[in-house]
């Protein structure tokens, strides 16, 4: 779509767009740029230039340890949510059974349930029953909130999936199990990858459940940042956030380069 910039309506639209983007992106810019300032507090625009705060953030072992905890928990949560989500999406799209709609609603409900309620409930549940130990408590909690993301992406993909492909595989001698892994899964893979990435990100920057359920000695990165901010807003906290933004940017860039490369190959 092209917009006629010269028309009054086009100019208004352009202005609205620019304002929205500025509103969304400026805070990120502040977080990335402010830690370069030499002052001992966050100032924008930064006064004087130094790499001190970024250096402090990188050399602070608490942040590195927390990053590893977060990566581990996010990876485990995303993979488990992916497996459960796909199995649920497959059953919900393939079979018509009593309570199918109710079950779908239950699977998606963590999206609307306040996380705090879930956190309190799960904390009580785990302490009463003594179920699961260490980081598995947080992983279990994150799986619950990650499943809806996998499901939301894979349900429409599986609904659109041409069932005759599965039948063709069966006709050629593949058991239902083999047909699923050899045909259904590869064909719907892009949707599943997208859902898993969403789940990973959801778990990675989740704070509330992590505050309640993380292992006492091994807080996740968001929890560590949150505590640091409460103690006093040092520029090194912003520097950590700045590094995260940079990492996210790199991942996005890599993803786009890869898909561009793949398109070219086809």
């Amino acid at each position: 779509m092209t917009i006629a910039w010269r028309s009054p309506l086009g100019a208004v639209l352009l202005l609205l767009c620019a304002l929205s983007f500025a509103y969304l992106l400026l805070p990120i810019l502040v977080v990335v740029v402010a830690p370069f300032g030499a002052t001992g507090y966050l100032a924008f625009p930064p006064q004087g230039w130094t790499l001190k705060w970024y250096a402090a953030a990188v050399s602070d072992t608490r942040y590195l340890a927390a990053l590893l905890v977060s990566l581990r928990i996010a990876l485990a949560s995303a993979l488990i949510a992916c497996v459960i989500g796909i199995a649920a999406a497959y059953a919900l799209t393939r079979y018509d059974f009593l309570g199918r709609r109710l079950l779908e609603a239950i699977f998606l409900s963590p999206l609307i349930l306040p996380t705090l309620v879930l956190a309190v409930g799960l904390t009580l549940f785990f302490t009463r029953t003594g179920l699961l130990q260490g980081s598995w408590r947080l992983i279990a909690a994150h799986v619950i909130i990650c499943i809806p993301y996998v499901l939301r992406v894979s349900l429409p993909v599986l609904r659109r999936f041409d069932r005759s492909l599965e039948e063709a595989a069966r006709n050629l001698g593949a058991s239902p199990f083999a047909a699923f892994f050899l045909v259904v899964l590869p064909v719907v893979r892009p949707g599943i990858v997208a859902g898993t990435v969403l789940a990973f990100i959801t778990s990675f920057d989740e704070v509330v459940l992590a505050l309640f359920l993380a292992e006492p000695g091994a807080p996740t990165l968001p929890v560590t940042i949150y505590s640091a901010v409460q103690l006093g807003f040092e520029p090194s906290v912003a520097a950590i956030s700045g590094l995260l933004v940079l990492a996210t940017f790199m991942v996005m860039l890599l993803y786009h380069l890869l898909s561009a490369f793949r398109r070219q190959r086809d």
Partner: protein, 353 residues
Amino acid sequence: MQIELRQLRKTYGPAIAVAEISATIPQGKMLALLGPSGCGKTTTLRMVAGFIAPSSGSIHVGARDITTLPAHKRDTGLVFQSYALFPHLSAAENIAFGLRRRGVARAEREQRVTAMLDKLKLSGLAERLPRQLSGGQQQRVAVARALVINPSILLLDEPFSNLDAKLREGTGLELSRLQRELGLTSIFVTHDQSEAMSIADTIAVMKDGVLQQIGSASEIYEQPANRFVAEFIGRANFLPGRILSGDGRSHEVALDAGITVPAIASGHPGGSSRVEVLIRPEAITLTETGRSGSLTATVEAISYHGATVYVHARLADGTLVTCATTPESSRIAAQGDAIGLLPAGTRLVSFPI
């Protein structure tokens, strides 16, 4: 191998998809299931493929009862209407899929896939993904994928409906040649009567889940069991009349339009002497008006189809009759003219009203 359907039936609650169908397809022959959409032909095919469990009845391939065998153990080659090629696999990998499932060793697999690619003129396209192939090429990959496993039976679900008319005829004949060459017993589902007549040995006409008639193309065309079959296969004119004399098999019918014709009886006349006589367009000769045994009509329209010319003429009582004739014979007719229509003495069939 011979395929036998014994009183096959499929119902969904009160809805009847297939009322009851019995048919035997001898080794190496092709049966066409023909009918309008919703007639139960696809349901029947899917029961044979194992995707739908019949409500009652049984399916036999050779001496074996396969009614309850799961789809992946049935050893049937199926060509889907949508082709159902695996979009993430190349043409060669699509064709190799069934061989892999059967544990065929790599060397033999490659050799069989290559042979099949050659046979279906796909040699240069082995590494292409389905979306990089034309409709006709995709169709050939689908056929190759079904044939390469040497199935005991071949099932075709409207395999030509997505091809354009020109490609359709050539592909149909090619497929029919392959099926004969491999001696494959096969079931072919279609809603296109000319397709069914040109490639099948036997045609089963279905309507609303009920088998209407089963027989060779000529039997079904020349001696349709009922009015539905007569109208579905080819073009048909029906003229009402009254039975004058005759036994249960053939009789003289006085048409309301004014002439008397001999007709073969189809179905049981019952107590009524009223019948409708089927007169195929090509069984009518155009002649000058007033000739004995001819009907007088007014030419309404003439449509030219190359080898055949259809002359549409209206009788005095308002019935529109279609005649098929050659371009030469059609010259005596001009739009608005009165003309004589002379039904042939044989090949007329009567149906009780």
